[in-house]
């Protein structure tokens, strides 16, 4: 798959995005990718992002979709912020995409919240 080469031009840097893929490591507590735990992690991400932006915590609402036989997508969209987590339990993997105005904080939160998971070094900061 490729993208068409067209009028490349630097856009103003408004947002920073972090795309990361997480892998369950040996010794990870069982259920690291269980839906309840995944939702808990993403809700915490949403609360921290909202707090950093001065958004009321009550605005943090999760939208989830459960796949059959397994797998989960969870999203938090706030004014000026976004977090999306997809899981592939059959592969022991999850992806986490964050967008906001604080790239340093976002990266730290990913590391903190990925307890029980080992984050592979593929963060992709883009603005």
């Amino acid at each position: 798959m490729s993208i068409p080469a067209r009028r490349p031009a630097p856009a103003p840097r408004i947002w920073d995005r972090h795309q990361s893929t997480l892998r369950v490591t040996a010794g990870t507590p069982e259920g690291a990718l269980e839906p309840a735990r995944v939702c808990e992690v993403l809700r915490e991400v949403g609360h921290r992002m909202a707090a950093a932006e001065g958004t009321p915590a009550g605005a943090v609402q999760l939208q989830t979709h459960h796949f059959q036989p397994q797998g989960l997508s969870v999203v938090v969209v706030l004014p000026g912020l976004r977090a999306v987590l997809h899981t592939w339990p059959e592969h022991g993997l999850a992806t986490l995409d964050l967008a906001g105005a604080d790239p340093v904080g976002l990266g730290q939160w990913v590391t903190e919240l990925a307890v029980g998971l080992r984050m592979e070094p593929n963060l992709q900061p883009t603005g």
Binding site: W15, V75, G127
Partner: protein, 122 residues
């Protein structure tokens, strides 16, 4: 293990009346996935955020293949798009779809392969 592709678009020079139009953003969220052969699995979410520097529009729709998100910055004429899909899609088709609606003049694109390398045994 490859999980899919993540297409990132940053566009500027968008038509002022379109980049500021929430209906335009909603229409993209409603129709672009199917245009690309992808499947929405939940109603799109969208927000308007007003601050001193201007209003920002944001929206996201979950797909069976992952997700599509848009962020529009009318004061700057900038549109930012993320499309992550575990199924093949045509970025050029998505670009043409968006350009027809927003009429941007400059774009910067990236296509990331999402996933992790296989672990070696032993």
């Amino acid at each position: 293990m490859k999980l899919g592709w993540h297409w990132i678009l940053d566009a500027r020079g968008c038509r002022p009346e379109r980049i500021a139009d929430p209906a335009c953003l909603r229409e993209v969220l409603d129709t672009l996935p199917a245009h690309l052969g992808l499947t929405a699995v939940a109603p799109p979410q969208h927000f308007e955020h007003r601050e001193e520097s201007g209003t920002t529009l944001a929206g996201l729709v979950l797909l069976a293949e992952s997700h599509l998100s848009l962020h529009a910055h009318p004061a700057l004429g900038v549109l930012q798009v993320d499309l992550f899909s575990c199924a093949h899609f045509e970025p050029g088709k998505a670009l043409a779809f968006l350009e027809a609606r927003y009429g941007f003049t400059d774009v910067e694109q990236r296509l990331l392969e999402r996933g992790l390398p296989e672990r070696r045994s032993g």
